[in-house]
């Protein structure tokens, strides 16, 4: 197993497309880190630079303290699992698993032992004699994973490996990957644009945007304390409600004025004073809005019901503030309301966030 360190790495595709810029990240030995971000944010390019499939235009990549920028991908001893599996189409599953080992001149008996072990671990023993085209997407995915496992590399690089699977299979594979990580204690770098994958799988998530790292941390930490509106709006679904507001009031606590509604804050944070009587971005997660007053301390807002989306376990209410701006609320499955009718909602302001309107960074 290995520690992977990225020091200020960048990638420029000719002529001048900056794909990755100034990425600093250390993935600890045995750690499961998820690179998360929208399409084109540079997460896959970063992974490919770790793998050696792309050369870094700037910075250093080190594996176990050794700089590997100029080391051939084959000699980095990493294994990658691709989004579309990339199995060798004319080889059977067993041959696919054996190919890398044969090239590394692993003795035949050892190859057979490892294939047997891997096949049992992934439940693909009955498939060993089949060709990739005879397998379903999920099975191909397992074989691709097996091809990485059988090599016993220093670390695993997973490039959106679950994206091509249907929702049910994806959920199952997610759990399996988590189990596999616990079982092997392997260093894993997982690239995804799916925030559910990131939240559930990673010990830490690294959120990227426009080629740069925006925030790194344990999933719940990033969820609770997003550093800016991008992270706030990217994690969780539906995302955090972000509304232009004003910070008003004289004393402690201040209040947020939001489209004609005044919401007194639960407590002031040190950064708030500088924003008094100034515009801010007010953020509150849909799950922090309730249909009842609860134990107390929740601010009330009266809204007009725009849409009621019953998802089964919960109901997502889309509602309009008095000034017409819309917010989303995740309510209990028993909630119902008539579209167009008035509804009183209760906001837990202890969990709200304020952001600077210009820099979009969190205040506090």
């Amino acid at each position: 197993m290995a520690e992977i360190a990225l020091r200020n790495i960048g990638k420029i595709f000719p002529p001048d497309v900056v794909a990755v810029e100034g990425v600093d990240l250390t993935i600890g030995d045995g750690e499961f880190v998820v690179l998360l971000g929208p399409s084109g944010c540079g997460k896959s390019t970063t992974l490919r630079m770790i793998a050696g499939l792309e050369t870094a235009s700037a910075g250093d990549i080190a594996i176990d303290g050794q700089r590997v920028n100029d080391v051939d991908p084959a000699d980095r001893d990493l294994a990658i699992v691709f989004q579309n599996y990339a199995l060798y189409p004319h080889m059977t599953v067993a041959q696919n698993l054996a190919f890398g080992l044969k090239l590394r001149k692993v003795p035949a008996a050892e190859i057979a032992r490892r294939i047997d072990l891997t096949a049992r671990m992934l439940g693909i023993e009955p498939l060993l004699k089949r060709k990739p085209r005879e397998l379903s997407g999920g099975q191909q995915q397992r074989v691709a994973l097996g091809r990485a496992l059988v090599r016993q590399p220093k670390a695993f690089l997973l490039d959106e490996p679950l994206s091509n699977l249907d929702a049910k299979l994806r959920a199952a594979m997610r759990t399996e990957l988590i189990k596999l990580h616990q079982q092997l204690g392997a260093t894993i770098v997982h690239v995804t644009h799916d925030q559910v994958e990131a939240m559930t799988m990673g010990q830490r998530i690294c959120i990227m945007k426009d080629g740069r790292v925006v925030q790194v941390g344990p999933p719940m930490e990033v969820y609770r304390n997003p550093v800016d509106t991008f992270v706030a709006g990217f994690l969780a679904s539906p995302p955090m409600n972000l509304l232009d507001a004003r910070l008003v009031g004289a004393g402690d606590p201040l209040a947020v004025e939001l489209g004609g509604v005044r919401l007194p804050l639960a407590a002031n944070r040190p950064g708030y004073a500088a924003y008094r009587d100034r515009a801010v971005v007010f953020g509150v997660r849909p799950e922090d809005i309730y249909e009842d007053a609860g134990p107390g301390g929740r601010a009330t807002i009266d809204v007009k019901v725009v849409a009621v989306e019953a998802l089964g376990p919960e109901v997502v209410l889309v509602a309009a503030l008095p000034d017409g701006r819309e917010i989303a609320a995740r309510l209990g499955r028993g909630f119902s309301a008539a579209v167009g009718g008035q509804q009183r909602l209760y906001v837990d302001l202890a969990t709200m966030h304020l952001f600077d309107t210009a820099t979009r960074k969190a205040i506090g």
Partner: protein, 295 residues
Amino acid sequence: MTVAAGALARRDRRFGLLMTAPGLAALMLVVLFPLGFTLFTSFYDFTLVHPNHDTYVGFDNFREAWDENYLTDALWVTTKFVVASVVIEFVIGFSIALALNRVNRFKNVYYVILLAPLLMNPVVVGQMWRMLLHSELGIINYLISSVGLKPVNWLGDEHIAFWTVVLVDIWHQVSFMAILLMAGLAALPREPYEAARMDGASAIRTFVHITLPLMRPVIAVALLLRMIFAIKTFDIIFIMTKGGPGTATDLISYFIYRSAFFGLDIGRASAMSVALLVLVIALTVYLYRYMKSLA
């Protein structure tokens, strides 16, 4: 509802037939009629001296053609020609395709250069090369002589003429193979190559284990298509050698032409044409089935 839908479908079908009728009629006239006429004639003693269908001879034309030594010769020359030109075109074409697949700059320029011969009419190609290769007045012999080598009788020597024709065919057709294979290479997925790179496979192993198996369908189609075209080669022979010297370049299509218009035996030439058509159709059916099996 069903009635209305049926009427609508009938109207659509009628309109479709109406639109395709002129095209179909033209095709019938220029393709189906000559084909039917040839097939019909192949069972009659039809010569240009007695151009009528009075004497039905059954399969005699086929039998006599088969018994003729010249046909066996022509078949042997054709086989040699097809194998030599298709194999060499494949090797050169694949090499060009692999090389150009790595090129990113000026790709369009290479495409234009590569396509130029293919865009030329075979008659023009034949004439051009006949002039270039003329034993006394051709520029190629002039260049050879200017470096002190003996001029070559490109089209007059029976051992050399065959390879000259093969080389001209290669010059003309190799880009077809290259373009087809290049399109195949460009469509290959990138990931298996990257997986092989991570596995530590060398360039040769990658070619053997990834490129060749992935390209198999394209290779098969390219080879079969070129084979079908090569079997039918006529123009270059007609312009450059007229099957000679002797019968050194007497390909089957030219041999049939000679039987018809020099031997005047249309019946026998028709029989051989039909047999050749059956061979080409068999290859085409195989190609079609193969392509269908891929889909």
